[in-house]
Each structure stands twice: as C-alpha cells, then as structure tokens.
Amino acid sequence: MKLKSSVSIKWLHGGLRCLIVIVLMNLFVLPAFGQKISITGVVKSNADGTTLIGATIHIKGTTSGTITDQNGAYLLQVENGETLVFSYIGFEPQEIKVQGQKFIDITLKEDTKSVDEVVVIGYGSVKRKDVTGSVSSVGSDDIRQSQSVTIEQSLQGRIPGMVIQQVSGQPGGDVFVQIHGTTGFSASGPLYVLDGVELQGIASVGGGTNPLAGINPSDIESIDVLKDASATAIYGSKGTDGVIIITTKRGRIAPPKVEYQFSTGFQQLTKKLPVMNLREYATFVNERNAGWGWGFDTRPEFSNPKYLGKGTDWQDELFRNAPSSTHTLTVSGGDARTQYLLSGASQSEEGIALGSKFDRISFRLNLDNKTTDWLKIGTSLQLVNIDENKNSTNSSVIRSALEQTPDIEVTNADGSWGGSSSTVGWVAQKVNPYAIALINKDKVNRKQVFGNLYAEITFAKGLVLRNEAAINFSMATEDVYEPSYTMGNLEKLTSEGSSESKQGVYTSIKNYITYSHLFAAKYSLTAMAGHEASLEKSERLYASRTGYVSDNVNVIDGGDPTTAINEGSKDHKSSESYFGRLNVGINDKYLITGNIREDGSSMYAENNRWILSYSGAMAWKLNNENFLKGVSKVNELKLRLGYGLTNRQAGRDYVYTSTLATVPTGVSTTAQLTQNVGNPDLEWEQTKNSSIGLDGTFFNWRLNFAVDFYLKRTNGLAMQASLPMYSGTAIGYSPGSLDAPWVNVGSMENKGFDIRISTTNIKGKDFTWKTDMTISRNINKVLKLNTDGAPIMGDYSKTVVGRSVGDFYGYVVEGVFSSSVDVYGDEEKGIKPHARPSKNGEILLFANASGSIWYGDLMYKDMDGNGIIDENDQTYLGSPVPKVQLGLNNTFTYKNFDLNVFFNASIGNKVFNQLRVNAENPISSYGYFRSLSNYAKLALIDSEGSDSDPYNVYVTNSDTDIPGVRNDQTNENTRFSDKYIEDGSFVRCKNISLGYTFSENLLKMAHINSLRVFTSVTNAFIITKYSGMDPEIGSWDPTNAGIDNGFYPQSRRFTFGVNITLSK
C-alpha cells in the first residue's frame, strides 16, 4: 500500500493554475476527419482507487482530447485505430490503442519521477526540465518533516547555495538568510514572494520581525528559490539577493477533503554553560581577596566555602521545558469550475527561557474560479494574529542569568526578590534575571491581512492577460512595562511603561500578458510583458509614561500624566517597473531565456531614480541529442549558462536629502536640528552575475543532481559610511551624532558553487532508502573600497580590501607574563623582553603597583616588533562567515513506516564568545565560568623575599591565558583578542522524524481516508568544539557578524502528532 498523504501532496505539487495552462496549451482543436466512435470510461488512481477529476485524455498525434468530469468519467470521439493518451499531473501517462472498444476504464500509476514538476519562476512558471536558471525547490514533505515554527528553518541545509542562520532562537525569532553570499555591507536579504505578492511593508515592533512568521508552514505547497541573475532578473532591483517564492496549497478538482493535523511536544535547552557554583565562587573570591590591590572584599559568609551549598544555578532557574502545540484544519476540493482551500491553524509555543512565547492563529482562503471559458478569477487571502512575549530577549535575561552570581537567592526568605546586598561598593549592581523575566512585560501583537485578487483573461489560445491586485495590511503593537522593584541593593524606584503602535499598508498592482505558442511542433515560444506599481505607507505612534499607580494597570493612562512622552511619524515610498521575458525552445534541445526590467524607486534623487536590469540564459538538453538518445542510463542531462545584471536598492527612505527634526531647547520653544547627512549622488548597487550549471538524472531516475558555479561582482555597494568620530556622524544609536550618510563604498565579489545530489539507494518492495545531499561553498572578497583605503570598522571587525566582509581584527595573546625571562628577556639565548603597552610614548613599568604591568597580565603579540603594544598590533583573527555549508537528508520507508534523518553542517567560521570576556575576567564582579579558576597564580621563588621584586616572582601555571587577580586594569586584559575567538563549525542533527501510516483496510471501516502518526526530534544533537550554547550566530549586519553575547539559543524540540484525512 502506498502512502496516501504523500500521494495527495504530489497531486497538488505544481499548482493547479499551471495545470490548466498546460491543458489549454495541449488542446489545440483541429478539425478531425474520418469515422468517429464514442468512447467512455473512468480514470482512477492506482494509489487509493479514487477517481481522478480533470485527467487529460488526448488522441496521440493530434491536439484533440478532453478531460474527465467530477466523477472521473470522460466521453471522447475517436477513430478506430487511434491511440489515446491518458495523463494526469503526478502520474505516469498511459497509452491505449482503440480497437473497437466502447468502454476504456483505466488506472493511472503514481509517477515518482515528477518529470512534470513545475517550478514557479515569477510572473509564470516552467517545467523543471525546462528551467534555464539556478532554481532550487522544497516541497511540502520537507516542510512537514522539519516541524518548524517558521518556514525558513525548514529550508536550512535543503537548498544548496543558501545560508540560513538563526538570529534568535526565540520561537518565531529572526532568521538570517543569504543566497550565494553577501552582496551588501548593509543588511540585505532575499525577496519573499507569497502567492505572487511581495512581502513588503509589514509593520514591525519590538526588535526585528521575521516577515515569514505569519505563515503557517502547513499551508505551503512548495518553495522555489531563484538564485542566479538569469532567474532573478525578472524581479529586477529586488531580486539581487535571490528570490524565495512561496506557493500555498490550493484547491483542486477533487471530492471534498478534510484534513486535520495535531501535534504536541516540548522544547528544552540543549547545553548549559559551566558556571561556578557557590562553593567554587566563594573559594575564588577568597583567593582573590588575598591578591594585590584587594583586601577590601572580605566576605564573612564565605569564610569556609566547604560548608556552603551549590548556591543558585541561574540557568536552571531561567530555562524550562516549554510545551508547544499546533492544530491545523484544512478543507479543500472543487469541481471543474471552482476550486477552494480553506485552512485554519493555531500554534502555541512557549520559549525555553522564561518570558518568551509565540502564539499564532492563521486563516487562509485560496479560491479559483473559471468564470467563463475566457475568464478565470481567484484570490489568496491570509489572516494572521500573532501574540508574542519578547521579554526574555528584550530584557536580555539570558545574558543577565550568566552574569548573576550564585550567592544571590532567587527569592529571600521573606518572599522579596533576591539581589546583592553587598556593601562593597565595587560590586556591579545586577538584576535578578528570574525576577526580570517574570515581572517585566514586553508583549507584541501583530495582525496581518495579506490578500490578492487576480483575473486571467484568455484572449486566444496561448494569449493570456493576468491582472493582479494585492494588499498587505499589517498592524503591530508592543506594550512594555517595567515595574519598580527592589532586588537587594538594586532599586528601581519608578515604574515605566510604553506602548508603540505601527501600521503598514502595502498595495501593488500588476498586469502582465503572456503569449505561448508551439511553432511547427519544434519551436516553442513564451513571451511575457508587464507593468507593476506599488505603494507602501506606514505610520507609527509611541507613548510612554512613568510612575504607574499600580502594576496591574499598566496601560498608558495608568501612569503619571506629567511624565507623558509621545512620538509619531508617517512614511511612504513607491516603486514602479516594466518588465518582459522571452523563452524560446528549439527541438526540446536548446532553451533560451531573456529577461529585462526597468525599475523606478522613490528612494533616490530624481536623476538616479530609474535603472535597467537584464539577464540572459541558455540551456542545452544533452539527453535529447542523438548521441545520448539511446543511452538508457541517462534520463536527463542539461547544461545551463546564464549572465545578468541586477540592481539592488540599498539605503533608506529619503536617503538623498538631509532632514531636520523638531527639538525643544531653552532658547526658543522649538528648534530644528539636522538629523543626517544626505547623499543625492547615491546610486543603485549593480551586481553582474555569471553562472554555469549542470542538471542530470541517471540510472532510471534514481540519481539526480544539480551543480551550479557562479561568479557575482557587485559594484557601488551602498552602506552607511562608518566614519571616524571627528566626522560627527555615527551609525545607529548615538545621541547628538548626525546619522551617517549612505554612500557607494566599493565592490565585492562572491564566487562559489553549490551541489545537490539526490539518490534512491534502495528501492524494494517494502523498503526504500533515499538520500539528498547539498554542498555549498562561497568565497567572499572585497575588491575595492572608495574610502581612502580606510577599512570599514565593525565593533570587533574590519572589512578590508582583499578579504571577506566583517573579518575579526584584534590582539593575539601569547600567554601571561610568567617569569623574568618574559620581562627582561635573556640575552644569552637571544630572547628579547616581551613587548608591553605604553602610555604617552613611554613603555609602561613592570611593577606590582597600579598603573604598571605585572606577572599574570596577558602578553600580547607585538606584530610590528617595536617592543610596544598599541593599536598597530591588532591583526586578522578569522572570519565569521562559514566556508562550507552541508545538508544531508536520509529517508527510509519500510512498509508503513517512514523515517527521516536530516543533518546540516556549517564549517570554517569563527565566533566571538563575548560572554567569556566578563565570565573569565578575575577582576569583574559578574558570574564566572569554571575555567576562571585557572587564573594565573603567582608564587615567590624565595618565600622570604619581596613580592614586588620582579626577579622573585613567577607564575606557577604559566600555560594559562587567564590573567591574575591583581586589582589593576592597566594592561587591559579584556581587550578584544584571539583568546575569545572560537571555531564555530558544527554538525547538527537538525531533525529525526518517524511516521506510521495506517493501512487502508483498517481505515475504511472507520470512514477515514488516511491516518498518519508521527514523532520527531528537532535539533537532536550538535557536534561542535564551540564552548558557548550554540555556535549558530546569525546577524543582520555582515560587518558585525558572529558575536555571541548571550543570545537566545536554539532549543531541542520533541513533537508527537497525528494527521487525519477524511474524504467523500
């Protein structure tokens, strides 16, 4: 017995619109001659015996034929001796010769090869075998298996050439997506197109919003990823970073079907960091207090650490096993005239950290109606409500939990919140992370209505005009409330509350006309031309007050009116485009595609407003050449070549001009202060993209691969110029600075390859084993910077010509000063004194006193060999960009069981483990990692001698890189250095899922069509050398990537679920 649910999904695969188009193309009605006989019959599926509605029956060698009706029945006039071809998407066609029969019932066999798989390429679709560009796809099976909250997670490792990194592991959290490398210095990302509508203008609050968080993964039919310019140029300026086309499931001509899916499970933390418990902490504090410059930190309660307990484990307090559940109900079906799909879903997801939550309710209506023989109309409508709790992320409670010390109680005996009551003034006041996670509120609500309407008018055969109007309404609100509190010495006296509300409306109108024709049965032509315009409007209101009377009334009105602050703004932008595409096929051997698009944007000054993108591609189907015709081992072999130029819009609204903000001053009641440096000369970023690819299928469709090589050169890279402070400009938050200008700063190259290989390793009667593998490699190189040779500075990185974007730069640690040889050298052995920092040009003293360097201080490598450690000794420390990304998916089926095991890997990137800066710094007052106990320990050579004589002191554990406990920071031991840089390579078992499909006979008695139960583990385990929680650190900003500052880690998720389908 076959897996019914997977069959039904295959039927859907490709979308019904495409089916209709293909059917129409095949049905050239030509006059027929000769004696006709009528043949009737029913077409059925071999999988479950149901009748197939809309199956095509045509007479071989002609273009006449018919389709089956609602009962799967057909009636056709044929001549005796002619051959009938029965076909249906997802099934192997069958031919029957008419030899006097009147009735021909036929059962079509499910086609596992999917040769007619359709790929959506933007403003149309083509068969997979006719694709000329670099396009990868993921189907609903893959999405279902990954059990993810948002859909990008299900693409990870499955699309070659695509890097996906979690920016926050919070449920529904941000994901960083990159296709064929970074093409910009500013935040960039692919274009998302949902059912033909760009996901633009979505209101966002509370820190980045994932545009895909509103989409229920169960609604997805397929995701097509356009990677090279020959594929993306049709999207013009928006497609440079790739295009991700999401197609939702639609109704089809079939009896009504009701599908219900339920899953439940929980998530847990995968790795706890090794922090000191109370005993270890007390031991260390006591040891430190004996060190130079200390002595004031005597803590009587630590006098005998042996008798102390383990203290508070803040990670245990903060992290929890978090439940999750989803319900999805889908009703679909249709007749030859109208097809419908209606779905409703609810997803509830607690985060593993206290104070995080994601709840989504979504509805979808997809409707297609063949109104007349020349008009088809339809809609896709999505309604979403998302409620989130973002407190754990926005209050940084994970970092706080790692910074808090184990001697602090969660709650005191009297029920009040624990906190440091140390009177030792230097102890940094730290919040109680558990309390903060509970009492602070940060609630985000998002409401979205994404809808589009379309009309397709067929003027003549092959000539279709499609009009589409789309509108995205979105509203987002964030309510933040921080009550007043007391946590030991830390007091927050006034409560603060704020409310932010944003609205966005994005409208677009698209019209395009397509003409398809097959000339002389040899030359196929599809030409498309169109126009598109969009307008995006947004507005924001913000209000805040402090001094709330009650923590229970924390809406704005509950606060002290005299503290009210309000802000409000409105924005708008528009774009307009003309575009066209030509596809030519010759003999089904040579395929040629040309794209052209003219884009206009309101973002630029008038003279830079319009820009042209274009691309061309060729494909050669080698398998249809005579020299391969007879070779049965080769099913398909296609060589692809493409070249194109696309333009990216980088910058922000009104980037060409400076704006003035209204500010109050004591001179006059208001004043106008310049906000930014405008740049009227800013231009579009231009990317030239060449690619070559090979697709092949061998051995009776059992081996299938695609290889792509690409070279992308981007000129005119735009970013906010990160200028020295004397420019008075800054990027991001910097009160009083002018917002830095956007400039075209340079050129960059991305080259690389990606490979996908799919094999059917074993295909037996009961057992099958399939493998999919992806390999991606991208090399990024900055070719030119128009900045006088100045690097682009990140917080811990530099971007320099000849290297990749955002490389780490800092000092190199060569251990600690541990013996007099380090200090004074050894002339006999030719060892020079180790370099030390200087002040005002003089090398700092080596002495056990403040303002000097001493044993246990870190020795930094003297890169320029001048004996002094200064800014010039910073050097390249690695790149946060992975070298290679891999995905490996294995699917096993045995009788009714199916098992899927999916790994992904990322190799060769570096991560800055910033948590270690404080947690391994002996003179900080934060929580410590256990590794700190290996701090540099000083001893005297002559125990009677002086402890400030450099010749009498040495370090016993000289191989450590953790400084000593001397209370002095002259050496700046926490400066950014390679000791905090770690290898971020990992192999992650992303998903294991096991399913069982009940047998049909059993289900028939219960009137159930199909029933599947499944269980899965997501993020089952990870193999890595990285010492932090999770090495997968996504970042929106390529010049500040790879920094782990206690971000929300990905959880391990266990899910159990059931899927029931009922049909007529």
């Binding site: 003034g425 230097w426 008018i457 003549a460 005009l465 006296l493 019209n511 395009y512 001094g547 005299t562 409000g568 703004s569 924005d571 003309y578 309101s602 008038e606 609204d653 009104y654 001009t657 400076s658 003035l660 903000a661 209204t662 500010v663 109050p664 001053t665 004591g666 001179v667 006059s668 208001t670 004043a671 106008q672 202060l673 310049t674 440096v677 405008g678 740049n679 110029a721 020295p724 402070m725 004397y726 420019s727 008075g728 400009t729 009160p735 009083g736 600075s737 200008p741 690097p791 500075m793 002040k839 005002n840 003089e842 403040s850 303002g851 800014e871 010039n872 002095d968 002259t970 700046e972």
Partner: protein
C-alpha cells in the same frame, strides 16, 4: 466573448499595461520631517536652525561624561571613585580607551558637525530675500559655538583635525592632524566674525539666551589669552588682543555681575546677564544623553532629586580643593560644595529645606525637585539648569590676567577693579596688588565644578610647564571625611602616578587611531 470585443479589450489592456503611473508617483518627500531642501528660507528658519545648537543631545554626552571629570576631576578639584574613567583621570593613567576622553573628543566633533551643517546650509540655501544682517547673525551663532568647540579641542589635545565641511569626509575620511597654532587661528577667525556680526545687546527681536557680540568678544579675549603662551612664552601681541576684547566686554557691554554668587546657579536665573554663553537645556527632553544629566553626580538623597531618583555618583571635592577655601570664603564654598551640616533652604523647599548629612558633595548643578524649580517635567537625566560655559566673571579675570601679562605683579587700576568685583561678590576682602598665583587661585575657586580649572592649567603649561606640573602633583587628590569642621584626607582610589608634561595632552581615542592611522603622524598646517 466576441472576437471584436476581444480585440478592443486586448488593445485597452495593452494600453493600460504600458501607460505609466502619473509622473509624480515616485516623488515621495519626507512626511514627518522637514527636508533641508525646503529650509533656511526665512529669518525665522535660520533662528530655528541656530536655536538647536545651544543644547540638545550633541552637548549631552559631553556634559555628562566629560564636563566635570576632565575639567575638575583630572585637575584635582574633585574626585570620583568606583568609576574607572574618573579614577584614571584622577591617577594620571589615562588611556585612549577612557570613556570621558572618548566622549569629549567625539562630542566636540558632534557639536562642530552640527555647526558646519548649519553654516554650509545657510551659505548655500538662504535666499537673498533674507536680510544680510540676519543671515550673518545666524552664521555668527554657529561660528561662535564651533569656535568654542575647537578651543576646547585645542586645549585638551593640541593638534587636532580641522573639519569645515563634513560632506567631504564621505569620500575622503582620512584627514591629518592640524597644527595647534592653526586651530587657534581658526577659532579666532570664527569668533572675530561672530564679534562683528552678532547684535551687541539683547534687543527685542534677539531672543534671550542666544549669544551676543559680547559673548564673542569675551570668548575671543579668553582664547587670545590661552594662545598667547603657546609658543613657550607669552606673546605680547596676543596678550594685547586678549586685553582689547576682554576689556571691551568689561567696560562697554553694560553687563554687571549678579549680586549673589549662589543665585547664578539657580534655574530662576537661567537667563542672567552674566551668562555670556550657556547651554540652553530644555527639561522635557528626558532620554539618556539627550538632556542635562549633571544631577547624576548628586550625592544628596531622593528628597532633593528631580523626580524621586537619587543621583548615582557622589562626586566630591578633593582634600586639596577643600584647603583652597579660606575661612571667609564661605559663599562660594557653600554654593559649590556641600559639607556635613550645611543647610539649603532652596532645596526641597516644600519639605522645609535640606541639610546635608554626608561628608562632602557637589552642590553646584544640584538644583532640587521639580517644585523647587517650578517646572512640570524634569528627571534625573534632564536638569532644567542652563550651565554657563562662559561667565562675565571669567571675562573679568581674563581681562585682569591679560593686563598682568608677563609682569610679576600689577597694581593696574582696571585689573584691580575687575578682580575685586569678583572678590567682593564672594564676600572677600579686596586686594591692592595682583599676581599670577592669586589670579589662578581665584579662578580655581570661582569656577570650581564649571570645567574651568583643567583648561587654566593647560594654558599655564604652555609657558610655565613646571609650575603647572607642580600644581598637579602638589595637592592631595583624595577624598576626605568631615566632622566638626575638621577634614581628614582619605586613601587614594588607586596609586597616583606623578603628572608629567605629557599629562597635559589627552590621548586621541584608540578607536580613532585604528580607523585613521594618520592621527598618530605629525600634524600638518591647515590651509585657510
């Protein structure tokens, strides 16, 4: 569908397809803010633009991070523990990573950037319909403030880059240091223009709080006085210029000192005549680093705080500062620093006044509650005080010093007149002869906690480095406990390394040198 209608519809559709949206569909001007393209068109626009230069976030970080720490902690007037940056300043172990140093560098250049933008925009965009005098007055305000900022940079760093057009930095960001002498020349050029073009007095249409020609002349005198010693000995020509401009203010401005020293620092007197240039804060701007945040340095409790949040830092006078005050110099002492038992009726007036119970703390800039100041909005981070950066008393003492010049002592009548005005107001005996030490000490006390003493020491170090070094190393830069009129010095917050001549030059922020290695190279002349 009939074939004919088919064709019509098709024609219509194709026409619609390629008809563009209206031409201005892509014209989307900013909706929420004015664009500079449409601004600087009237006298009123110019006034709005220059008003923004007197306070606001571009001044807030400097006021909070550097005003007291560099001006008063580094010079030994005050001390502040548990603050790494301030401890470094106190112990002369300042590095290029010091937060106060970075803030001062960056913030002065922020001020300069805003002035440059305003100056260049007015020059480019203001139409001829705006009266020349109005245009020049607006330019003068911006050039006055820019001059102040460059003067501050010249004092603290010496050679610094001179930036006149921030737009050119987008294409050529790596500039060189300019010679300190050229920086002084640049400042003098700005101030001379301002002195010529600003209104002489606060007229009916010249809003209170804005700088006047007297402000510019007063500052010009002060700048000339500092500059006069730069070459290693005091240049008489520059001293004469200082004397000229400071003298003008003293003699012809018609401005007088306020009667009561303590009244100068009350918000009711924010617009007093003596404040030649003050930061014009608005207390409704309460965000972090947006307003006057000096109250964070308060060591008083919540009862004298703006809105219930007490200060954090408890900055206090050093033992050396305490010793500067003679027994009869109580008016200024009490208005500048609180000592145990001091009573202030104006603080927490509604609650019966405030008696200080700590050992010693800052009084200047600590203004009390919202009620005390009669303002509806004020927080710990948005003081209503307009802290003056140039006072008439300062110009008086500059005038006296420029007369003294290279002489050991002076009995010049003008010098004594204006010097004694300052002393009389402080309730002190007048003097009949004046020398450099008396002047410097008077300045130190008069302007304590106003970020003046460090610039004074730097000016001194130009021509008498040993004396400046001795002054730094001579006093006890430590806190003290105080009871029954007896002060007992405490321990230093860290080992104080002896000051050297190098101590008078702040390090350029490390990040700045990393971004532009040219800043560690020799300075170049500026082409005017």
């Amino acid at each position: 569908m009939k074939l004919k209608s088919n064709i019509y519809y098709l024609a219509l559709a194709v026409a619609g397809l390629f008809a563009s949206c209206s031409k201005d569909f892509l014209d989307r001007a900013p909706l929420s803010e004015i664009s500079t393209e449409n601004f600087y068109q009237t006298t009123s626009d110019l006034k709005l633009a220059t008003a923004a230069l007197y306070a606001g976030s571009q001044w807030a970080s400097w006021t909070y991070n550097s005003y007291l720490t560099i001006g008063d902690v580094m010079s030994g007037n005050m001390v502040l523990g548990y603050n790494d940056d301030a401890v470094q300043l106190n112990t002369f172990s300042v590095t290029g990573e010091n937060g106060a140093v970075i803030a001062n560098w960056g913030d002065m250049y922020k001020v300069i950037a805003h002035c440059n933008t305003t100056i260049n925009s007015i020059n480019e965009k203001t139409p001829e319909s705006v009266p020349e005098a109005d245009k020049n007055a607006a330019l003068s305000e911006a050039r006055f403030i820019r001059g102040y900022a460059y003067y501050n940079l010249a004092l603290l760093w010496g050679d610094v880059p001179i930036i006149e057009d921030n737009n050119t930095l987008t294409t050529s960001p790596l500039v060189s240091l300019n010679l300190v002498n050229d920086v002084y020349q640049f400042v003098v050029n700005d101030l001379t223009f301002a002195a010529k073009n600003l209104p002489a007095a606060i007229g009916s249409d010249w809003e209170r709080g804005r700088v006047t020609s007297w402000s510019a002349q007063g500052l010009l005198g002060k700048v000339y006085l500092s500059w006069s010693g730069l070459s290693g000995e005091r240049n008489q020509a520059l001293l004469d210029s200082a004397k000229l401009y400071a003298g003008n203010v003293c003699k012809y401005s018609g401005l007088e000192l306020m009667d009561n020293y303590a009244d100068l620092f009350k918000t009711a007197n924010n617009y007093n005549d003596e404040a030649l240039f003050a930061l014009r804060w608005d207390p409704s701007v309460g965000g972090w680093l947006e307003g006057n945040m000096l109250q964070i340095y308060s060591s008083g409790g919540t009862e004298i705080s703006a809105d219930g949040q007490a200060g954090w830092f408890s900055i206090m006078p050093t033992y050396d500062m305490f010793l500067q005050y003679s027994a009869d110099d109580t008016i200024r002492r009490k208005a500048t620093f609180m000592l145990k038992g001091d009573y202030y009726a104006e603080l927490n007036a509604a609650g019966g006044g405030f008696t200080y119970t700590g050992d010693a703390g800052l009084k200047k800039h600590i203004i009390g509650t919202k009620k005390d100041n009669n303002v509806s909005i004020m927080t710990l981070t948005s003081s209503a005080e307009h802290n003056a950066l140039l006072r008439l008393a300062d110009v008086y003492l500059v005038y006296a010093e420029s007369i003294l010049g290279n002489n050991e002592t002076t009995t010049d009548a003008d010098a004594l007149l204006y010097f004694n005005k300052v002393r009389t107001r402080a309730g002190l005996e007048t003097v009949v002869s004046l020398n450099a030490d008396a002047l410097l000490k008077e300045r130190r006390i008069e302007f304590a906690a106003e970020s003046q003493y460090w610039p004074d020491l730097v000016s001194l170090s130009y021509y008498n480095p040993q004396k400046a070094i001795d002054l730094l190393n001579g006093g006890e830069r430590v806190n003290f406990s105080y009871s029954d009129g007896v002060a007992t010095p405490g321990d230093p917050f860290g080992e104080i390394t002896p000051a050297t001549i190098n101590s008078f030059k702040l390090p350029i922020p490390s990040s700045e040198i990393t971004a532009n290695p040219k800043l560690s190279k020799a300075p170049v002349p500026y082409s005017f």
